[in-house]
Symmetry: C2
Subunit: 380 residues, 2 copies
């Protein structure tokens, strides 16, 4: 396996791209969806099943892991891959987003952010340097700079000073990464700028000036709505270099993914497939189903006859029974089937791009997953 990080574009179809990220731990086919393994586990799934869905890479959360079980502990045990029995690539976020959304009594200043752990109330400091140190201790293949995820809504001035702080942190993160990382590990910058097109451009250009292995688009899917989100994606990918992967953080629905791929995004992560799986929701090639719905009480159809996932071969009546009974197996099967649906969606997107028919493919999926959210066939 290559000892360096590389990205190769293989085909383009309009602005949609398909390619490969090569890392020492394996190849990531793009567009790529990363299942979220917040606390060193993709919830309710065995790691070998996560791999079996076709996932090339997962995301883990720095914030959660630094608090429990601790980055130094994981490092001592040989790193996050060994710890969680996942030998393919792992991307870690920087922890900044979770500090804002989960921690109490946070204080942000030029040096970084100080907060109280949501687990035990301990006071914890996270600086750009510490965020990189933690990610290196975890052994993450793709690491993220510490940034401030600008709250939404934000005034132009707030968004501007926030992105400028993030840029200074990005520079410090890069310096820390240069001294702490191992060959083949990669560092991504994160574009901020709220919903202001010119600020998005400013942020992207400044990050490009610093130079990163890839570029993430952050601070979206935080309440601005799909249209504004896609506008910001389009503005940003227009200035990002062609030869680096682009990663839209924390997104999203099948439609969000396809619309963003159409605007040049290569990578995604979202808790949606696993969280939905724990809440009786299934993504299928025929639309989204709520397995609690009484209509499935006698439905002997497999969950998704079009899916190759072993979990999708279970009949809806059985899944209905499991979720109504509160059985863990319901969440296990639906999480598995949903993660596989997302992977199959990406696999078909890659194929469609390579064959120059991405727009037609996206239209076809939109029949079941339109822009209006994710139309649920139970309520339609």
């Amino acid at each position: 396996m290559a000892e360096r990080f590389a990205f190769t574009l293989k085909a383009q179809d309009g602005s949609a791209r398909t390619g490969e990220i090569v890392t020492p731990r394996g190849v990531v086919r793009t567009p790529s969806f990363m299942p979220v393994g917040t606390g060193a586990t993709v919830k309710a799934m065995f790691p070998e099943d996560v791999a079996a869905t076709g996932a090339d890479i997962i995301l883990a959360n720095t914030y959660h892991l630094m608090l429990r079980p601790g980055a130094e502990r994981i490092a001592k045990l040989g790193g996050l891959h060994d710890f969680m029995h996942w030998d393919k690539p792992i991307l870690t976020d920087s922890g900044g987003y979770q500090v804002m959304s989960l921690a109490k009594l946070r204080r942000i200043d030029e040096g970084g952010v100080t907060f109280q752990s949501h687990i035990d109330g301990a006071t914890v400091a996270l600086s750009p340097e510490r965020a990189i140190e933690v990610q290196c201790l975890l052994g993450a293949d793709i690491q993220m700079v510490l940034d401030e995820c600008t709250p939404f809504p934000a005034t132009r001035d707030e968004a501007k000073s926030s992105l400028e702080l993030s840029l200074r942190w990005a520079e410090r993160s890069k310096a820390a990464f240069a001294s702490l990382s191992k060959p083949g590990q990669a560092l991504f910058g994160i574009v901020q700028g709220s919903t202001y097109p010119d600020l998005r451009e400013t942020s992207a250009c400044a990050l490009i000036g610093l130079g990163f292995d890839g570029y993430a688009i952050g601070g979206l899917a935080v309440g601005e709505g799909q249209e504004a989100m896609l506008d910001m994606v389009e503005v940003t990918t227009a200035v990002l270099p062609q030869d680096r992967p682009r990663y839209l953080m924390g997104v999203g629905t099948p439609d969000d993914l396809l619309q963003s791929i159409a605007r040049g995004v290569d990578m995604f992560d979202c808790v949606m497939p696993t969280r939905s799986g724990r809440h009786c929701q299934a993504f299928t090639w025929n639309g989204k189903l709520n397995l609690r719905n009484a209509r499935y009480a006698d439905d002997a159809t497999p969950l998704d006859p079009e899916s190759a996932c072993p979990a999708a071969q279970y009949e809806r009546v059985y899944l209905h029974h499991l979720v109504k009974s509160g059985e863990m197996l319901g969440a296990m099967l639906l999480s598995y089937a949903n993660v596989q649906f997302y992977q199959e969606l990406m696999a078909r997107a890659r194929e469609a791009i390579a064959e120059g028919r991405f727009a037609a493919f996206a239209d076809e999926v939109a029949q079941h997953y339109g822009a209006a959210g994710e139309p649920d066939d139970d309520t339609g």
Copy 2:
């Protein structure tokens, strides 16, 4: 596969026996432990993993399934095996025990028992005939007569009239089974008699007079203590025919199993491995562990280096992290490892009996699982 039910003894070592139950759906190697799949799922396990542990047969609960999703519904879908994706043998209890332990406002009379469902409060009637009808609708390979699980403690008179009622129900169950069952399905009688040796003999002899494919020992592990339980087992197996399987219901700890095998029992079921798995407890060849214990916070040893179970290869530090974090994967891995431990225990018991060294084997296991309950290595 044979179209009839048969039991063959292959070896004996003292009173311990090893053999094979042949059913149309497969062979059950005895001594056999049946994981409990109460509501058509062995909790927190994929059915293929239950099979991978070496389980030849599982138990399902008539009471739960008749209430939800309903026996007629399952029959319409092709039976319980198809419904839950388990193609090996299934034993069902008769529902009587759960009526006593779970249902509200139960009323018992000569005809049967009437109760309110613990799920929705509906009034439900269960007679010996209906219990067999339900088990036939489910398609159970081994079925149980409806009995009254005599409460403990019971006076001699209470125990006597209770077992006499159970005997009359057994006769009616047998008649119903004769008209409703399919070739190859089997019906077991259930010996009652509380802790009164002569009543146990009375019950066993009367059932033998009626004639059943196998004999269960019921009404034990209900508070009488291990010594009294084993005494009753010994009294009962002494009168049961050699050429029929004996099944001790709802038991138990590893020590309970080995002590009962030494007294001639062939089959067991218990929620212990799965319930313990959901409560952070692991059965290993080195004793029982409580993974919540802080001593595992840095323990990089695999859960059970002696087990062949894939789940037992995960390190204790990781399992500790999962259970402390409330992650479902913790329960999934521990349930899997525990069920496999029970299967490995039975496999080694069968081997030891075949090789005439069962007593030595039981002594060896008793070093970690003594009679005093299950000594937990965390508290020792």
